[in-house]
């Protein structure tokens, strides 16, 4: 049995290098087929009539006119008479027709009567939540009374961030069809969980999971919102069945995508911090609340990262009619981070301390990762020029443009998930890996290719990578930054085992023992005498007629230290704020991040850039703006649900902590951690620039101006 481990730094030919993603040519040329691009013979187009009301009961439905329209092939009632609707945009009736215009017309021909019920869609003020609010018991750590009595200064503030929506560019949806005389379902689904979606499709359709196949070559964004089929995907399968098995393409329109297909829970908190004048934090108190729509909203981790010795915390979950919450890149961490790091920065400002020194002074409260944070803070400070550019709160220079710096730290787990793969080596030397995983644009395919090729001593293009099919060995869903650890560990184990099998077959020809062989530069050779070698193709010809197939696996506590968990990251931002218009501009953001052993430095850096840009979006622009009266989302489009453009992000700098001290930990997920801090770091920089906290994200001009108006106070207009 091979000892499973990553190759030493000097033996790595591909791992850790800067390698372009292998599906890049497909993507830049438009040849990459997303599920949304799948066109099947005889395919119908599905559309859904949605509820205009946030809370209602269905009184009547008349689909007769729609059913009789030429070109309409199936109509399916999703929410029948008597059903209670919990958010605007909920599916009522679905239609499938020969083309989109016909389906659109059929939708309009459906008549639905509602009994409208009271709703709540705005949760920024807990006082309005009434019966929708469920306060939890107080949670105490240490002795908060003692902690506050020891404090020399007490700082209070309100903080919060609203519900935002994922806005995946490829909307949620699928092409569903029944094959083999209505026995089997083929699902081209847009999903973060190819293997895991099978049973979720089979169950509601009441067929064995073995009769379902899920395929997906590429996915146009998920960010936590695409972990399985949605109600409308199952509906598409039902429409297909009614239409004799014809494929039905059902993808959300943009407005529906923003209304119903993703929401990150809000979080609000009133925070009190006790501290000494030398910066020692003695106590934390928070009353927080949050909504995730119908599923309410749990408490974010408070206080975040800093384990303050004395705490008193109370959280209230609010159920409302804003939609249904879904996981969002680093669930609950951005909220916990935004509240904690801004409250701590306010505390530092209250005692006139540089937050860099304040964080450093209290860094031991972060626990085992304190030394890493300390190193990262030094690097980030150098990259942003903290010592040179930081000033006490409030830029005193003349003119309306005020500049400031902010910082924040964050953490995440990122242990590899359960994952299987098959590695096949053919007698002609060709190599193939099959795994039921998915590439969210994180570079999963590329990482697999790097690992197999590096392990077998082959060039990248000698290995074929096949993913995105539920018929391949099962691999976990891509969430929690668990993919890179899981797929890397499985691919490494499989590759090592496969190579060992090749060594056994080849050893007699080289007059050596299998354990004396190594795979280098396309050859199998004797370690002590490299001249004794066979080319890879010659070596594989010794396999005989049958290809060698080896299962590579990752599972909890699998042998070898190939994946790990727990990372720390530091970010610092430099912003300018126009105090006349309230407009915030990013000058520069620096991210310093560790993630254990890096497989592909190029795509790893891209993850961090992307996380920072996504953070700029929700720090400055994103909000699901709800109309209190109608209960509908007012900005379900991309003009008013604004995302950052290429000119809005300033200059971004990424520094990966890599090499000795990091590599030995094994592979750790990276997609989420750098997405945690941006809200806090930008808010802190704005406070440093304008001299007052803007308590609620996003930092839109109206909020900035309101905070300036109330200078000294801490309650902006909500």
């Amino acid at each position: 049995m091979a000892e499973y481990k990553w190759p030493d730094a000097d033996k790595r030919t591909l791992i850790g290098k800067r390698i372009s993603r292998i599906d890049g040519p497909q993507k830049v040329s438009g040849r990459a087929k997303y599920s949304f691009d799948i066109n099947r013979p005889g395919m119908l187009f599905g559309k859904i009539l949605r509820s205009p009301h946030a809370h209602a009961k269905i009184k009547s439905i008349d689909i007769s006119a729609a059913e009789q329209m030429p070109g309409v092939k199936a109509v399916h009632i999703v929410s029948d008479v008597g059903t209670e609707i919990f958010w605007a945009g909920a599916s009522i009736v679905a239609v499938a027709a020969v083309d989109e215009p016909t389906a659109e017309d059929a939708k309009r021909a459906i008549k639905v009567e509602y009994e409208v019920l009271p709703h709540l869609v705005i949760d920024a003020d807990l006082k309005n939540a009434g019966e929708y609010a469920t306060p939890a018991n107080e949670n105490k750590v240490g002795d908060p009374d003692k902690g506050f009595s020891e404090a020399e200064v007490t700082v209070e503030g309100n903080y919060g961030l609203p519900v935002i929506t994922h806005c995946c560019l490829e909307p949620h949806g699928s092409v569903m069809e029944w094959e083999d005389d209505g026995k089997n379902v083929l699902a081209h689904l847009s999903t973060q969980a190819v293997s895991g979606s099978v049973s979720q499709i089979a169950r509601p359709l009441e067929i064995p999971a073995t009769n379902v196949r899920v395929k997906q070559d590429h996915i146009g964004g998920g960010f936590g919102s695409k972990f399985g089929p949605d109600e409308w995907d199952i509906t598409a399968a039902r429409l297909s069945k009614k239409a004799g098995g014809k494929p039905v393409k059902m993808f959300n329109e943009r407005d529906a995508e923003l209304m119903v297909a993703g929401a990150r829970p809000s979080a609000y908190a009133k925070v009190k911090i006790g501290l000494k004048k030398d910066g020692t934090i003695t106590a934390w108190e928070s009353q927080s609340w949050a909504t995730g729509g119908k599923g309410s909203g749990g408490s974010p981790p408070l206080p975040y990262v800093f384990n303050i010795p004395n705490q008193r915390k109370q959280h209230t979950a609010v159920v409302n009619h804003i939609g249904s919450a879904r996981a969002w890149r680093a669930p609950a961490h951005p909220q916990g981070c935004a509240i904690t790091m801004t409250a701590l920065e306010d505390a530092a400002a209250a005692i006139g301390m540089d937050p860099y020194d304040f964080f450093t002074k209290n860094i031991e409260l972060t626990g085992q990762r304190a030394p890493i944070y300390t190193d990262e803070m030094k690097i980030a400070a150098d990259l942003i020029g903290w010592k040179k550019n930081w000033h006490a709160r409030g830029d005193k220079t003349a003119g309306p443009i005020k500049r400031g710096l902010g910082l924040s730290i964050h953490t995440w787990g990122g242990l590899g998930h359960q994952s299987d793969c098959d590695i096949a080596i053919q007698p002609d030397g060709s190599v193939e890996l099959k795994m039921g995983t998915q590439d969210l644009g994180t570079g999963t395919r590329t990482a697999l290719n790097i690992i197999v090729a590096d392990t077998l001593g082959l060039p990248m293009n000698a290995v074929k990578i096949n993913i995105g099919d539920s018929r391949y060995p099962a691999s976990g869903g891509s969430g929690g930054s668990t993919t890179i650890g899981g797929i890397s560990a499985a691919a490494r184990r499989g590759s090592q085992d496969a190579l060992e099998q090749v060594f056994i077959k080849v050893a007699p020809s080289l007059d050596a023992k299998p354990e004396d062989l190594e795979a280098v530069s396309g050859t199998i050779r004797v370690k002590s005498n490299p001249a004794k070698s066979l080319t890879w193709v010659q070596a594989c010809s010794k396999l005989g007629a049958t290809p060698l197939t080896v299962r590579g696996r990752n599972f909890p506590n699998a042998p070898g230290n190939l994946t790990n968990q727990g990372v720390g990251g530091v970010q610092m931002a430099d912003v300018s704020v126009d105090i006349e218009t309230g407009v915030v501009r990013i000058n520069k953001i620096v991210a310093v991040q560790d993630c254990g052993l890096i497989i592909d430095l190029k795509t790893a850096e891209s993850q961090v850039y992307g996380a920072m840009i996504m953070g700029v979006c929700w720090a400055l622009y994103e909000e699901k703006i709800m109309d209190a009266k109608t209960g509908r989302m007012l900005n379900p489009n991309m003009e008013f649900y604004r995302l950052a453009g290429i000119a809005d992000i300033g200059e971004l700098v990424v520094h990966m902590m890599t090499g000795k001290g990091y590599d030995e930990r094994g592979v750790i997920g990276l997609g989420e951690p750098p997405a945690v801090s941006p809200g806090a770091v930008i808010s802190n920089a704005v406070a440093n620039a304008i001299g007052v906290r803007v308590p609620y994200l996003p930092l839109t001009p109206d909020r900035v101006l309101a905070a300036l108006e109330k200078k000294g106070g801490n309650n902006a207009r909500i």
Binding site: R31, H218, A611, M638, V654
Partner: protein, 212 residues
Amino acid sequence: MQDDENVKQKGSGVSRRTFLKASGISLSIPLVMGYKVVKVQGAEVKVYGPGKVPLNLSINGKSYTAQVEPRVTLLEALRNELDITGAKRVCDRGSCGACTMIVDGRAIYSCSTLAIDAQGKSITTVEGLMQGDTLHPVQQAFIDNDAQQCGFCTPGFVVACKAFLDKNPNPTAEQIQKGLGGNTCRCGTYMGVRAAVAQASQKGQKGGKRNG
């Protein structure tokens, strides 16, 4: 094709004839190819539909035909009728750029252009940028600088960059940010895009730096 001169527009309460009279528009004889010609303030204007009409498009140097309703956009015609799916439907109202195509040398949002209006024009999509097996320099630069993650915005971005560089072969950093402000990426690939455009520009800064 039905003669819809007197067809009452459902729900509008105004027949087409009344509308035409009121607008000072007069109807002339129906012609072949699925449209009528009407005179609007002295100028002749084609009126299509409302049923399916024949469509003839020139895409990436090839001629394509289909039958679509006049309300069908250029983007939908390509994606749904012709299986040319590189351009993506995202915002569907001209704000994100994922559907960008080049029509007669100009970058346009194909989600906001009617298919029938694109007839007789030269349409270039992302599929038309490669020369045989060779990637266009903009495409190669996107790969070299990892200007893509999920890749869903990428076809539109690549086409927009190509059109931008055709007009601005030596852009400044500021021009790049202004000129490509019409394309939205959710994964956050803008640093790569900036570097890619710099690399693909005439100055050809190979391996444009993303960091800083």
